[in-house]
Amino acid sequence: MAKDEYREFRLVGTRPDRPDGLDKVTGRARYGADMTAPGMLWGAVVRSPHAHARIVKIDATKALALDGVKSVVTRADFPEGLTGEDWNLQENTIAGEKALYDGHAVAAVAATTRFLAEEAARLIEVEYEVLPHVIDVDEAMKPDAPVIRHGVSDTTVPEGMSPNIVRKIEFGNGDLGAAFAAADLVMEKSFKTEATHQGYIEPHACLGQMGSDGKGEMWVCTQGQWYIRKMCSAVLGTEASQLRVTPSEIGGGFGGKTTIFMEPLSLALSRKAGGKPVKIVMSRSEVLRATGPTASASMDVKLGMKKDGTLSGIQVEFRMQGGAFPGAPTEFALYCGLAPYKFGAVEAVGYDVIANRPRCAAYRAPGAPMGSFAIESLLDEMCLKLGLDALDVRFKNAVVAGDRAAYGPKFGSIGFVETLEATKNHPNLLAELGPNQGRGIAAGYWFNHNGETSVSMAISEDGTAQVSVGTPDIGGSRASIALMVAETLGIAYEDVRVNVAETGSLGVNEPTHGSRATFASGKAAVLATEAAIKEMCKRAANEWGIEPDAVEWADGAARPAGPNAGQFPPMTIKEIAGAMGSTGGPISGHHESLPDGVGASFGCHVVDVEVDPETGRTEILRYLVVQDAGRAIHPSYVEGQYQGGAAQGIGWALNEEYVYDDKGRLQNSVFLDYRVPLASDLPKIDTVIVEVPNPGHPYGVRGVGETGITPPLPALANAVRAATGVRMTHLPMSPSKVLAALKGR
């Protein structure tokens, strides 16, 4: 077990009220669309109604003739000559020669009122030459498929394949032929998942201002203000340091707010309108048509197993389309899908494919849910065939510290076996099942991430502390960081204020992504606090006339480190802070790094369902999430991540999908048709927090945000199989699909 199993904490692991709670239950918290500015204009975006079309002409004459219309921008207002990812960002912000998907922005307009901007957008005339389109990944890979764009493929793609295949991934180890020959059972199956959207309830919103001198400001809902700064500057050809980006409170992101969409348009409109601020708020339909979705996937898996459940070898080929630009998370799907088990020999192939769909953005453990769906579904099917217990087989093959992951690195301290043990001991596994009911089990994995991190903290004159972090608080990270800083300083939780800083007041930070906020900003905050403690010890040492290293910090006070250091009463943080103006000036600490010591997180979910044989509807009877948190700093928000991840995975498994017509137009661009889980769809979601502390973090944190969305897809497919005898291989398992499968039994 981990070395600090018996450490006791004063605050870590307690459940205080979150610092921003009062603002958020009274309506005071300010989100993206809640900001206004003097002289503000409203922006509206003209979007392509075609999946794939050449833009012949854009005529804004009628729009500009309206009183109150202040500026119109098209691609001609953006710099030429960008390459690589900068070009991708610019092209996705506003189409150049071609519109690449239904909803692709082609022009934008700013006017004195929202209605006027919308009217002006309707008056901008765009002439299109409609081109053949393709949206399905397997269709897009065919040699005769319509080509989205030439020259995107990198050198990994063999000659002769469709130009829509932009990257091929290959890795493996061992002798697969021998492994399959040694197996008692070899099975293969193909699986598909549809694109889903992160579905944050807050639509993208920003208020941008930029003058002709290239200096600008932006208020925006984002997971990463420095990413907004860097990306907008690249797209506009301006200097990053001249743009100051302030993150609003954020109404959900799940990865979808780690990049830019219409933000550069507001700055370009503002610059062209003499520097007047321009606010753009997306409609829900714009959000679904033009932002965020995840990739869709088509996957083949072949697996070998011995009679006792030992895995002998696996062959996988994953094909994923991520919209009109490179970046489908095929690699992560392979890595995460293969991570939990010792498979023996491995042969993995992946394709990143482009198609006429919106550019995929990160969505909670990008790729992992698809990969796990395919692999964990086939694993379950083989357990059934061989009459083996699904949990026992997972125990038998589970990776432990020191094992090498299929994708290369050796696992450090991990808690997968402990997670499986906690699953096995949960009372939900003893619940009896009736007719048409079934139980499904599946595991999941996410790497977790460190990322560029910069934190500063300062001791105030009264001995309280302020901490500036660069990671927006999506789900309680102010609380977890305040707990860790207060624990380290030895002061009250309420005496620490955590501020999410704008780009002008802190060094570069990556977004709140990769489950990194409590790990990386938390670790950096603790290290910054330790720097301030060192300075406070020095002040006490100077006062006492002893060496600084003869002073230690405990329970919120400097103390002589031992009897040899001298006899002095403890000097409290309040005393040191109160005197700091005359003992050497302000006391603060800061830390900048790529924090090392990331700890991966495994989870296991168990779901019981009842499938209505007359309608095909799947009702969830009970749901269990077990996951290794490393250590839960604020257990309520850890449970919240587990429950929220499970709910999104349930939606993906049962309901959610992008539906296109034969012209490649999205057919379900409102919440009535893109149906995310409602309170009445879900049961109580039970959680067990496993704590195998991460030795790479001062309080053992791993990061908990993402793993939880992965197991629900296969767990539900396995439960439906157990309830009905039918193996569903194409998500979502909507009632009509399940009913058709039941009839075909």
């Binding site: 309506g27 309830i201 999506i474 429950q643 309170a679």
Partner: protein, 160 residues
């Protein structure tokens, strides 16, 4: 388009504003009255983030025109606390960690208050169906349900 003068009562205070007849009540609350606590998540009445009450009836303010507010009694999230004293639902939402991003929270609080005003002792299932018109993408609803049930128990004078 010429604007229409509207006089209405919001959270007990008389308020006047000029509404474009195309504007929703949500637009008017947010853009004319400065009450941005009610949120727009969809604009089509599917997500409930804009929930308010009009003469005691729970509505999506994105589906009501601003000019319809004339002479009505409107209650929003900003009027839910009694001065500095939070409504038990607001307190229990914080206590139970029933919010993560907090964007759906105002609508959920207004909607669940409307439920408890009508039915002080709802079953869990009744709560789940009542708030089925309020989408939350962060929490999986579990802690929201606990918070509402606990607030209802406290308001009935029962120990939690």
């Amino acid at each position: 388009m010429s604007k229409i003068h509207v006089t209405t009562t919001i959270n007990g205070d008389e308020v006047e504003f000029l509404a474009d007849p195309r504007e929703t009540l949500l637009d008017c609350l947010r853009d004319h009255v400065g009450l941005t606590g009610s949120k727009e998540g969809c604009g089509t009445g599917d997500c409930g983030a804009c929930s308010v009450t009009v003469d005691g009836t729970l509505v999506c303010s994105c589906l009501v025109l601003g000019v319809e507010a004339e002479g009505k009694d409107i209650r929003t999230i900003e009027g839910m606390a009694d001065g500095a004293t939070l409504h038990p639902l607001q307190r229990k939402f914080i206590e139970h960690a029933a919010l993560q991003c907090g964007f759906c929270t105002p609508g959920l609080l207004v909607a669940s208050k409307a439920l408890l005003d009508k039915n002080p002792n709802p079953s869990e299932e009744e709560v789940r169906y009542w708030i089925a018109g309020n989408l939350c993408r962060c929490t999986g609803y579990d802690k929201i349900i606990r918070a509402i049930m606990d607030a209802a128990a406290e308001m009935r004078g029962e120990a939690a």
